[in-house]
Symmetry: C2
Subunit: 342 residues, 2 copies
């Protein structure tokens, strides 16, 4: 491998100046810079990350640590996350790597190892929980990280997130404004921070309309088609106080809900209004639902670019105010909502 010294010799300059030229420092003339870059290219020079890390403290490698779990593998989510992040870190000349922890292995020591030996500059945290130990740990150790989502009410960490609270407020509010008073919420697994945010949005809308929330019609589970299906069957079981509308955490759930409603002989939106949040996972076309599904639309895949940028900036020491990013979302009203039957 060609080293800086090789480039310096061939360019007839000092190692110092070559380094500065390649890193776009100020005190190197344009002519020299171009010359050095040309020479470096011709030699196929690549900076040695270890050497760089040793002196500058940065290696340009960042990582994602995931616990081994059958869930992660099964849906396409994991690959989507990894590929998306990989792409956008590459674009920033950073290496993105994944470390899979063993099942049941405590996760903090894994981070400690990865940090201790100085291989990685920072981390991306996904699936944050309400009191996320990883975030606390990394904050404590002063290691840069970015969270996909927010932890707590007033987060003091870098993040990229969508307005889950607002989204579910608006979803609920729309149904309320149509006249619905009994609105079911099929939410994700308890403990995840976005699940809490969504619930808060839902409850705030209900409270605003003076409607009492009923715990019997908000459910938490992994967001699958099966969840939507069995929940719906259960919600409409005879003798129960069935809802007139259902809000789904994602489109997969909505698919299950549609199936169950059809099986139960109930129509959308005649008997039941259905809405969902659409993260564009699992290529379910919400417009192709029958009737077309009304959704809030915020593709998950729009997260990776800001996340990568955020971590990159966090590592270079940008102020927190520049590291708290919010993604946009859109309402797409279609045909799955209507006023409730009297």
């Amino acid at each position: 491998m060609a080293t800086l010294k090789d480039v310096a010799r061939k360019a007839g300059l000092s190692v110092t100046q070559v380094s500065r030229a390649l890193n776009n420092h100020s005190d190197v003339s344009a002519r020299t810079r171009e010359h050095v870059q040309a020479v470096a290219r011709s030699l196929g020079y690549q900076p040695n990350l270890s050497a760089r890390k040793l002196v500058s403290g940065r290696s340009g490698m960042v990582g994602l640590v995931v616990p081994r779990s059958p869930d992660l593998a099964s849906d396409g989510l994991f690959m989507e996350v990894v590929a998306g992040l990989s792409t956008h870190f590459s674009a920033r000349e950073m290496q993105f790597v994944v470390h899979v922890a063993q099942e049941g292995e405590p996760i903090l020591p894994v981070y400690r190892r990865l940090i201790g030996n100085g291989a990685l500059d920072g981390f991306v945290l996904i699936d944050p929980e309400d009191n996320d130990e990883r975030a606390a740990f990394l904050t404590e150790l002063d290691v840069p990280f970015v969270v996909h989502g927010r932890i707590g009410e007033n987060p003091v960490h870098p993040y990229f997130d969508i307005e889950n609270e607002s989204i579910f407020f608006e979803l609920t509010d729309h149904l309320l404004s149509l006249g619905h008073r009994r609105i079911a919420l099929l939410n994700g697994v308890e403990g995840r921070s976005y699940v809490g945010a969504r619930l808060r949005g839902y409850l705030r809308a209900l409270a605003g309309a003076g409607v009492d929330a009923d715990k019997a019609i908000t459910r938490n589970c992994k967001m699958t088609e099966a969840f939507g299906l069995v929940s719906t069957v259960d919600l409409f079981s005879p003798g129960g106080d069935a809802p007139t509308a259902i809000i789904c955490g994602n489109v997969r759930i909505a698919k299950g809900v549609y199936q169950a409603l059809q099986a139960l002989g109930l129509t959308v939106p005649g008997d039941v209004s259905v809405m969902a949040h659409d993260d564009h996972l699992g290529n379910l076309q919400t417009a192709a639902f029958y009737p077309a599904l009304s959704v809030t639309d915020a593709p998950l895949r729009d997260s990776w670019e800001p996340l990568a940028g955020c971590l990159a900036d966090a590592i270079t020491g940008a102020p927190l105010s520049k590291l708290q990013l919010i993604g946009s979302h859109q309402f797409r009203f279609r045909r799955s909502t209507a006023a409730p039957q009297s």
Copy 2:
């Protein structure tokens, strides 16, 4: 982070001796070694990989590069591979990381980048193909790697593999010995090296029994249930020269075959004998098939330990003869095979 110098000071020794003590070198007394280790532990010392890499040329990090692909994510295979390798490299105090290349991105430049900046010591190659460019490239650059499988007839690279050729020879031979003469083979995707090996074993057995191979009844495809199902339907389509036995590349295929046969009103093993190779993926219980499926048994999960060991040894410069490992397999004859109907 505590450095070697810190440990040396606290232990009252030179940096040199501390390094030697921690790395189990010869010329350090047992008493010193223990003392040093105790001090290191008390300080939470972790060697800096970058510094180590710089001088010794080894960082203790190895990697797997996978192209982004929807396939990989969907079946549990990818997670199984990653988790297995991760586990066994950890046990060897090595860090195992995954790099996902972008879809359609040429793979060699990715390796070049990863090697050039000196982050990784070696690679694990999975899904080798007949003329694998990655292996050629890494050999050329003299970068250690280990292949899960073999490339070519007389491989000159480190590998761990099972005897695919023998396994499919024996599978075929068994059916031949029962009297079958028309044996279908549902193989994996063409180009993969193990697929070629399996075909060779099958053909050698047929040739040994003086049976002409018929290309019409050997099929190549991704090894899914659907493949088994549609192939079977096709093989037994009216007017065709149907086989009396089917060999499946894995159990998933066999499941599809069973389904199709049942739908077609054909019995196992009365009308058709079925065998498969079982890699224990996708927790399909072969003994729970009805009738219980006869298989060759070689759990894929037994591969990760030897693969990790092999790469570790390759990096430390072990001779090739110690780096070519073969896994064992077992025959499990159950109730899915019988002599063909006259």
